[in-house]
């Protein structure tokens, strides 16, 4: 079983899917000869040709509208938004249009399209190459949103996304691209959409998280174990629809919860996870529902000391674990 980075898993999955299914086409800025700025489609134009690997003009609304039009006419487009920070011009085509194609046509049309979005900070990206942009997508009925954190899940969820018959947003954390390595089976498998995974079982409290923060949470859990606190770590993996069952089961069992995310906490994924817990685990909770995130300021400073101060870290998670354990 080969070991791969996240970006390698993304690339090999796209390649395998494109070999399997001719209706899959790629579109985005610099996805052709450049192979994508993160090299997600490195070499693809040579293998699949310019017709299936389309360098678009610099226009995100076009990219997503184009993907939508092609999707309702028999293709399975995979659109790349170069950086999450640049997805805003396309919101109208994604949230306003693609999300509602099936509902708004009473099932007559569907849009089997995938939008890959590299996001997240800790990469010296400053205000405009660091953003987390999941909130609106995760809020919108009609969209599916996945956020794999490991190479295994990156392959399995991207394959699920490409094969799905409705629009799926795939959020890939940029920092994990080359940082995170893991085993990825050669064979064709998918990871089901809508299923969280307990990445580390534990009995004293539950951390619910996703993306890069999964790795920080696992590091923090290892440190906490040395301090005698046994932390369970739930990786959401899919942000819409959230896997309520896994969250509720875990938190009801451990009785305490810390929700960790990189995105601004106000009105966010962590808010929704907290709301689910507050409604469904109330009688099993042994302490307040706690959250850890960055400060409520625009994300995130370019200068290194401030960037580090902004991002949640394994150390900050350990502190939050200790505080919660004492309650």
């Amino acid at each position: 079983m080969p070991e791969m980075t996240v970006i390698e898993a993304v690339r090999e999955t796209m390649r395998a899917e494109m070999r399997r299914d001719e209706s899959i086409i790629l579109m985005g800025e610099d996805v052709g000869n450049r192979g994508g700025v993160f090299l997600a489609s490195d070499g693809f134009v040579d293998e699949f040709g310019e017709e299936r690997v389309i360098d678009t003009p610099l226009a995100e609304s076009l990219i997503c509208g184009l993907a939508l039009g092609a999707a309702v006419n028999g293709m399975r487009p995979v659109a790349e938004i170069q950086f999450a920070d640049f997805v805003w011009p396309a919101i109208n085509q994604i949230v306003g249009e693609a999300a509602r194609v099936r509902y708004g046509t009473n099932g007559a049309k569907s849009a089997p399209m995938t939008i890959r979005i590299p996001y997240g900070g800790g990469v010296r990206g400053g205000l405009y190459h660091s953003q987390s942009i999941e909130v609106l997508f995760a809020h919108t009925p009609g969209l599916t949103v996945v956020a794999p954190a490991t190479p295994y899940d990156a392959k399995g969820l991207l394959a699920s996304a490409i094969r799905a018959d409705d629009p799926v947003i795939v959020l890939e954390h940029k920092r994990t691209y080359r940082l995170i390595k893991g085993e990825v089976p050669d064979d064709d498998y998918t990871v089901p959409i809508g299923k969280a995974e307990i990445k580390r079982p534990g009995s004293d409290m539950t951390i619910v998280t996703y993306g890069l923060m999964l790795h920080y949470a696992l590091q923090a859990a290892a440190t906490a174990m040395e301090l005698g606190i046994d932390v369970e770590v739930v990786d959401l993996r899919t942000l819409r629809p959230l896997d309520r069952e896994t969250i509720i089961e875990s938190v009801s069992r451990t009785g305490k919860v810390l929700i960790v995310q990189e995105d601004t906490p106000a009105v966010s994924i962590s808010s929704e996870v907290a709301a689910i817990i507050g409604e469904h685990c109330f009688f099993d909770l042994d302490g307040p529902i706690t959250r850890l995130g960055p400060p409520d300021i625009p994300p995130m400073p370019f200068s290194p000391i401030q960037e580090a101060a902004f991002m949640p870290s394994p150390e900050k998670i350990v502190s939050a674990i200790e505080k919660l354990a004492e309650l």
Partner: protein, 339 residues
């Protein structure tokens, strides 16, 4: 290059006299049904309507130049006549306006004319102006990649020309020589905003030059001229030569929608002049001048249309609204349904 076609071209081109009369028949049916819809709104039965009155000639001529068995139509809310020209029955139209169960486009989830047509590849996903243009480029791209013989016709108004999506779509269609026709129904108003506040140029078609394909401006009350321009554009697209922007100059005879009152922003002179350019009147005159119909035949065309509209109204008025249950159908896998 923008070019203005003859003002009242009466050379029939590929349109036979018989077809001209048929197109007129469709226009008249559209007009009577359209009037009925406004009446139903005033009676409190139709929540909202946008009229195609004034756009009828342009729309029938446009559809006539296409092939409904192959082509794709991305419309917006004002293609009432185009819908009828494509075979939508008056009952089907009314179910949309009256939000009845049997609305063929969206089962009354959406406004009239929104959703997807059950028999031709015509659709209109949203009310959001200009979103259909990048989508049309995508539809056409998919055909081009698979070598399909199909043309995509995308409808938009003068207002839509100001949106970024319009620019992005035309630019891409030009680069890739996509088989698409951009059909702009320029009625000089985006709700209340006149052309002079929408653009500093005379014609929208002139912008096509900046995207590397032809643009043409045609008088949209002239069935023959529109048909000719569209025939050329569709032929160009089918031949793999790329897009054309066809701009038709039409009048919006009624206010923007049933919610609007255009006397707030149009002068009496403007309104009077505009009423002179009623395509039903102009087309009827042309057909009579060319001895294609008599006065009596014209009256019969009108009375048949009225009868058809009455039957449809009686039928649909008695039909039920959709019940709650189906509201939860056809959600995507990501919707959690009943909350």
């Amino acid at each position: 290059m923008a070019a203005t076609a003859n003002k009242e071209s009466e050379t029939s081109g590929q349109l036979s006299g018989g077809r001209l009369v048929e197109l007129y028949r469709t226009m008249v049916l559209s007009r009577h049904l359209d009037e009925r819809v406004w009446l139903l709104n005033r009676q409190g039965k139709a929540a909202i309507a946008a009229s195609a009155q004034g756009h009828e000639a342009a729309q029938v001529a446009c559809i006539e130049a296409t092939d409904p068995k192959k082509d794709h139509y991305l419309i917006y809310y004002r293609q009432f006549t185009a819908m009828i020209a494509l075979g939508t029955e008056p009952e089907e139209m009314l179910r949309g306006f009256l939000a009845r169960d049997g609305d063929p486009m969206s089962a009354a989830r959406q406004f009239p004319l929104h959703g997807a047509h059950p028999r031709v590849d015509l659709f209109n996903f949203s009310n959001v102006i200009a979103t259909q243009l990048p989508q049309a480029a995508g539809v056409a791209l998919a055909d081009k990649l698979r070598g399909k013989d199909a043309v995509t016709i995308v409808f938009f108004g003068d207002g839509a020309a100001s949106q970024g999506d319009t620019h992005e779509a035309m630019n891409f269609a030009g680069i890739h020589k996509l088989p698409v026709v951009f059909f702009c129904e320029n009625n000089r108003y985006a709700i209340s905003v006149p052309l002079s506040r929408q653009m500093a140029v005379e014609s929208i078609a002139s912008r096509a030059a900046g995207y590397g394909f032809p643009g043409v401006t045609v008088d949209g009350i002239d069935v023959v001229a529109v048909h000719e321009a569209m025939t050329a554009a569709v032929a160009r697209a089918r031949a793999g030569e790329g897009p054309t922007l066809v701009e038709v100059q039409v009048e919006r005879l009624l206010p923007h929608t049933t919610d609007d009152d255009h006397t707030r922003y149009r002068t009496p002179e403007d309104i009077a002049q505009m009423l002179e350019r009623d395509p039903i009147k102009i087309t009827a005159e042309m057909l009579k001048r060319r001895n294609l119909i008599t006065e009596a035949e014209d009256e019969q065309i009108h009375s048949e249309a009225k009868k058809r509209v009455n039957i449809a109204t009686d039928t649909v008025d008695a039909e039920p609204y959709p019940d709650v249950g189906p509201m939860f159908d056809h959600v995507t896998m990501a919707s959690q349904g009943r909350s």
